[in-house]
Subunit: 195 residues, 6 copies
């Protein structure tokens, strides 16, 4: 286990968290086997942490046409473009698991244009990158392109909102030098490729 700090800011102990947050963190530890560092790093500011995870859950847990793998792909592609180590490593692991594909996350992180994805997914990621880098120019014609790939207006909101939310997350992670847990790097790599 590495001994590097997980944030440039003080990190509370789980036992010292407010009740609701401690409960949330213990639940995730139960299900994942470890506490992802984002929960500890953000717990430095409990009010912001609550809003952060409410926002996260509203977006990532929402039922819709985007699959969980689609959503994680958006996170990985935009976080890689923002050079966010925490999000690329942690959500890369989730993407491998959700997509049941050990190659996809590294492909999407490095150059999604060359990844083993569908044209529809490529259009989704093109749009996510535009929202991330050049939202000023987003307009109805972008929605037109996405609709031609079968996305409806709620899907398009999802793509934009996930991108915007992880843009916030990427900036906080880079600002705090948030460290991905060592566990994430190897997760989901054992499955047969493209199976």
């Amino acid at each position: 286990m590495s001994e590097h700090p997980i944030s440039r800011y003080p990190v509370p102990e789980v036992k010292d968290l407010p009740d609701d947050l401690r409960e949330k963190v213990l639940a995730i530890q139960e299900s994942s086997g470890f506490v992802p560092n984002v929960f500890l790093a953000l717990a430095h500011r409990p009010d912001e942490m609550r809003a952060f995870f409410d926002y996260h859950d509203a977006l990532m847990g929402r039922e819709g046409n985007l699959t969980v793998a689609d959503k994680e792909m958006i996170v990985v592609a935009t976080s890689a473009d923002n050079s966010c180590q925490y999000c690329v490593v942690a959500h890369g692991a989730i993407l491998r698991i959700r997509a049941k594909n050990p190659l996809l996350a590294d492909q999407v992180a490095t150059n999604y244009r060359k990844a083993d994805i569908t044209d529809r997914q490529r259009a989704m990621l093109d749009f996510a990158l535009k929202v991330s880098n050049e939202a000023r120019s987003v307009n109805e014609s972008d929605s037109g392109v996405l609709r031609s790939h079968g996305f409806d207006d709620e899907d398009i909101w999802d793509i934009a909102a996930i991108t915007a939310f992880f843009g916030l997350s990427n900036r906080m992670a880079n600002f705090t030098a948030m460290r991905p847990n060592d566990e994430f790097y190897g997760m989901g790599r054992g499955m047969p490729a493209d199976s």
Copy 2:
């Protein structure tokens, strides 16, 4: 009153909002005299809206060394850099009022480097812009510069987090083509300059 749509997405009527959000919106209408469009545009997704305003309030309402005018200045400078019409116009109005200065918002929006602000505020905005555009390179030496201007580590977190949160807001506003209320443009312009 203009007849332009306030979002590219459907906008609910206040009476149709979930109770907690309707109450929140009516309270702001009471205090401001009108409902800022961001409340209506985001109400298309109540769960996301709740988290959005919880996050907003956690940051903007937090007690600390940054004045309200400092915080609004961060919002205006980074939102202008992101070409976000809603945030520049709405928070420009708040900045004029909070700083009791009718010139400051337009100066900060156009080029904060030439605005009537202190060196400390310029250092604050330099850092906010770095978090917004190049968070990948933020490190301890940035904190060192800010500390030399009297900011402590919690102030620095505030600057970064406000920037990151409004980066999300800017992307959503540009994505939805969120329209600032006509009322904002003229607010706070009647005070004597530099008084």
Copy 3:
């Protein structure tokens, strides 16, 4: 009234200007009620000032298909992109007055793509920004797009030349830290919106 310097360079008194320039400045003072600072800041170099205003007048005073509001919109959009405080504030005021619209200048300065303008005007500003930022790639196909919006070749020259001239102006204003007169900020804001 603010006490900030209006330029990083020495600013002559009106009474000390060469006769022709003093006359010009007094005439504008008569018509506007105050002397716009650009006249004082540039008077540090009378020969350059004469050429500057001759160029300005040749472009802005020329009869053609562009309305005065169209021309001011070009100035505001390109000057905002160049972060020129003087030109955005001063020409923003003129744009509000000429367009009889108190909202338009702030919209165009922040993100003309979302402003209350026509498709024809948006094409005009797209081209102006291309001339400003990427003149190396301008070619006949740009003129084709503009012609499809009803502009003729002389209109297109006007758009390009106004952009190029204010590019000069923006650089001089940023270099000298030219300060907009306090009067400009509030001018033209009293009209009913969209009337």
Copy 4:
């Protein structure tokens, strides 16, 4: 002699120019042996042309501490960065002649950082490029650097103003596809290198 058009716009015959401009053009033809195309291309708009050359002469003809070669170097370096064929080729010729150096113009056009120039000249060109590309950030500290190389405030204005004026010229030349005269390419190349 090449048969390519010298502008995308109509070019008047010298004999059809207004008297003052025809005289000016004939004088330059007398001294240079040919009419530089900029005079013909800009003559499409006589009023703008007059102001253009008045501005040009005010800057390039002004007595000061910058040598003629210094000024031409500024023109070549900034015009190359703006990809302006006319200005690089025409002023490259003038630079070779004024500096009595057949190598300098091509060096400065390609990468002034590696050209056979003094540290003082390199600081001058660093500043010119900053005014050209990032005037928003120019401030007193830039002047401080230049003063440490022996430039006074009037020299610094000259550097900024020449850069700003040729920024205008570069945009008009790229917009009109202004063609450099064939004569310029070979001028000043016959002198012994570094003599």
Copy 5:
């Protein structure tokens, strides 16, 4: 095993390669257990392939102060910045193995500024990125910084040359859509972290 093409260009069979190249490829297959796709994709042009691997071997096999892990780190950091999937995935595997560290490659690929590396290595990668993106500005002062970290002039040449060579490689891999072998993704991930 995936069935995706490994290049947009025809890929020869190993048995059809010229003798010297076939021998080279069989040797690497012997030592690695598989043929890295770069050998097959580049074999479309045997003469270029020979020069490519001679250059590669001259740089990567040269004895000097840079460790093999240092060299691979340069490859991974600059290839990630160039969005080169093949080089990041293949050399990421080699970096994990050479550094005996299963985390390092993903850290360096995403944001080397936050990776578990020394200040000396960070200075090395800062310089590599400058050579990759802005070689025009490289000069003696860069060497001064590197010397202060203990690099000598031959080490500095190695950093620059490895960067320049993989810049070529990145462009060819992106152009041909060269696909990393599935084997690379998981290699070197089994070691204890930070051991």
Copy 6:
């Protein structure tokens, strides 16, 4: 003859080169009348030099549909964009001679979009610049455009590979501050224009 160093690194004497390289250099001196400095600057590392020239010769000497002038045009356009003085000056000379056109090299170096070239050549250079600056986005649709101009897949490989190779060369030349021989500047300028 200038006395400036031709590299920031030690430059061997021709007589001290390994036999094969000395022979190569003497042959080029015989045919050109002088030794281009690239041979001396790179001779600091003989193994790299051998691979460099093998690669160069494999690409530039290959028979195909690209003319020698086409290839040199690619070198000049991409090297100018990379601000590489050595390659622009040296290959500019070769381009003038091969194309028998004294104007073309300076036109292509400054702004190939305005050069006296065919639409086919402009498409070739558009693609070369894309490979140089944004290889991550190159895909089949770029090949489609080039095929519509009559290029076949081997020509397209040539364009990409020449661009990639000179990208390496540009970085090494900028890194070493490689100086073009004075002889190159004037070569090929004596021919009648457009003959």
